[in-house]
Symmetry: C2
Subunit: 242 residues, 2 copies
Amino acid sequence: MESLSKNKQKLIRSLQQKKYRNEHQLFVVEGEKMVRELIQNNPQKIHELFALSSWIANVPSSIPSQTVSEKELEQISELKTPNKVLALVKFLEFTISTPKFTIVLEDIQDPGNLGTIIRLADWFGASNIVCSDKTVNIYNTKVIQATMGSIFRIPVEYTHLETYLSQQTRPIYGAVLGGENVYKTKLPAQAVLVMGNEGNGISDSLLSFLQNKIEIPRFGQAESLNVSMATSILLSEFFRIQ
Amino acid sequence: MESLSKNKQKLIRSLQQKKYRNEHQLFVVEGEKMVRELIQNNPQKIHELFALSSWIANVPSSIPSQTVSEKELEQISELKTPNKVLALVKFLEFTISTPKFTIVLEDIQDPGNLGTIIRLADWFGASNIVCSDKTVNIYNTKVIQATMGSIFRIPVEYTHLETYLSQQTRPIYGAVLGGENVYKTKLPAQAVLVMGNEGNGISDSLLSFLQNKIEIPRFGQAESLNVSMATSILLSEFFRIQ
């Protein structure tokens, strides 16, 4: 078995940083489940794949791949418990036709939250996600793990939100404390839903774009809901009526 | 400033393990927000408190406390970025009157999921949570952090679920793939809701106790929802009608 070159190790580890991901237009996907899905649905997106000898037989010969030892996998993995296979994947590109339902995220910081929201969007069938430039990067390993594969199905873009929102013709909703009780609000099938930063909520500069402020009523005592829980409940409200 | 004794360091670090938490009937709460809430609402539950000199002025003299250096706090903290204060807290005890809405958790493994579900229960005003003995321990630091203080308001007990469920007179619901569309199900205010393990769902031995199998319909393509997302949506459905 050919051992993994120092240069390749260095390249893979450098992709933990956004700067090098952008330079190489590559990101890392780890774990059997997600890589298996990639091989099945998007084999052409795989730049190169590194797997334990026990796993390499699953890889079609058309995909550039290399067998690695457990120790080598540990050295290139960002996971605490590396999981048999790691793939270098080309940056994703989507063509979006006219979006029906868009989730707008302002400065979401926690990778688990972004990943979870991508998975929720994929569960409910939202068209796409639009993030502020300060939102955590989509190719962050923790984001990718939390999406459980939904990253390959939901288009996510980063842009200047004021500009984006000013161009929308669909009604714009936002989760705001003191907003209208979402359970008593008639919600449209086509809409833009804005969710704010974990600590600060939606910023003043975006608030003025909201035509409809909604909130999830609290029946108990917790001070707040996490943004991904709030998103799950609001998406459920928007999509349950369809 | 008196330095933290080796014995005390050892005691605090030992509480990262369930065995020693049970032996001392103590657990660790970290971070300004949660400790401030404790001081306000449950000062008598604090066994001892350790804070940076900049923070110790916030602590009433009635609470046993000791000033620690940043380095000492780092040594006793389980957080990557220790947060000014750490408290040793006595095990919680609740008296539950007749519960109206109970969440039953079977073998939930991820501490973030359990913590999030406790926070959700507190938001929606569920009465209590009943866990299988194999569910992750409530005094695990990651559980406590994820509850954001709701751990002090929601009674959580561990028990044999078959026995517990067999004693219930309220209707028992469970989240099951292929169950009835939850959006089309009339849900009662008093109920027991069973949520299954992250990977396996509800076990066969519990399935027979469910009078009502419900599911969240999928409008998109994601294979599954995380258990805490599913719980947030189902609690929203149960409580929105009240």
